[in-house]
């Protein structure tokens, strides 16, 4: 099994640093990048099929784990993690973005590029911590949870879209950002917002060959 998108050979436009600011820290160009890739270089599929497939997965997990929602959350997270560590390469191949210099930039890339390119949504970045190392993503139109109503017993324990946290965790780790990613609230549980918190623990050091240090 392999990469979901047919060849996107001409990404050169994105990295051609000669033309103006090289994808500078401005949100505008990231947004344009995300929009352009979504519009012109992405194969697409019916979002409802995606939603229903995810629903089938979660409901099957509920059965397999006998409605032990803590375990189901973990399993969804793990599935997401497995996706994230691979999805990041797909994302980089499409966007040709370099590493981000700080979390502010990271948050922009996640919201305006990553979510846009894969799910065609752009979550709002908010709730910054004072040291600018933790923030929240507020998702308004989560395609995973369309048509979903949680049964009463699941409302307390289940983070229905927990796969997203796993994806973010796995993907960020691959670019050396060790983060905690978790849901804070979910409208499926009766909350006002669907909010994911991302907190940077540390920036992992690039390895150096033995003997070089």
């Amino acid at each position: 099994m392999s990469r979901p998108v047919s060849t996107i050979s001409g990404q050169s436009g994105l990295s051609s640093s000669g033309s103006g600011a090289p994808l500078g820290g401005q949100g505008r160009s990231l947004k344009a990048t995300g929009d352009d890739i979504w519009k012109n270089k992405t194969e697409k599929i019916n979002a409802e099929l995606f939603t229903l497939t995810y629903g089938a997965i979660v409901s099957q997990l509920c059965e397999d784990y006998d409605r032990d929602f803590a375990k189901i959350n973990d399993q969804l997270f793990q599935m997401g993690y497995n996706i994230g560590v691979r999805l990041i390469e797909d994302f980089l191949a499409r966007t040709a973005l370099p590493r981000c210099e700080d979390m502010v930039r990271t948050s922009e890339v996640i919201s305006k590029c990553a979510f846009k390119v894969f799910l065609n949504i752009s979550p709002k970045v908010t709730n910054w911590s004072a040291n600018k190392e933790a923030f929240s993503l507020v998702i308004n139109d989560n395609p995973l949870s369309d048509f979903v109503e949680l049964p009463m017993d699941a409302m307390k324990g289940l983070w229905y879209s927990n796969v997203l946290c796993g994806v973010l965790k796995g993907a960020l780790e691959m670019v050396q950002l060790d983060c905690d990613v978790a849901f804070v609230s979910d409208i499926l549980r009766g909350d006002q917002l669907t909010e994911i918190k991302i907190k940077l623990n540390r920036v992992l050091k690039d390895e150096i060959p033995i003997g070089e240090d």
Binding site: R3, R86, A93, P98, E207
Partner: protein
């Protein structure tokens, strides 16, 4: 143009793929993942590693874009590099013909490596299985047939061009 060799390093400083062409203009010649290249791989990695850290140090701090090594020239050949944010390095040794190697390397990454390795669940996404295989001590190589086949086919057109 002539391509002498092609290398991939992962973020653990390990060479996970090497391909050397020995007969000029013959895309079928040479070796793949050869043991004999181990030392050369280490030296090549070290050279680029050092240049990267120097270029990083010499770049004024606070500048927006990183100062990446793109190519290195010697009297006989040129080394082209492409590094991804996930720490993969793609390296080509070629002659001096002015060709956009950046594009070639990017293609190898985006359309061959990502397609047949990253998104392939049967292939590892990390080639070091434990701590003792990190920091340049890894032994695992890419052996995926689809990857190798497609890479050969793609580079063939450039070698014989």
């Amino acid at each position: 143009m002539t391509i002498y060799s092609f290398w991939i390093f992962d973020k653990h400083c390990n060479c996970i793929y090497d391909r050397e062409w020995t007969l000029l203009g013959n895309p079928k010649s040479g070796t793949t993942n050869s043991k004999q290249n181990d030392d050369i791989a280490k030296l090549l990695y070290g050279t680029i590693f050092s240049l990267r850290s120097i270029s990083g140090k010499l770049t004024a701090s606070g500048s927006e874009s990183a100062n990446e090594i793109r190519s290195i020239s010697t009297g006989k050949f040129r080394v082209h590099t492409y590094c991804t944010a996930t720490g993969l390095w793609f390296i080509l040794l070629t002659d001096f013909k002015p060709i956009n190697y950046d594009k070639i390397l990017k293609h190898i990454y985006a359309d061959i490596y990502v397609k047949y390795i990253s998104c392939n669940y049967l292939s590892p996404y990390d080639f070091a299985e434990n701590e003792s295989e990190m920091r340049g001590q890894g032994v695992r190589k890419i052996s995926n047939k689809n990857f190798m086949g497609n890479l050969e086919r793609y580079l063939e057109t450039w070698i014989s061009a």
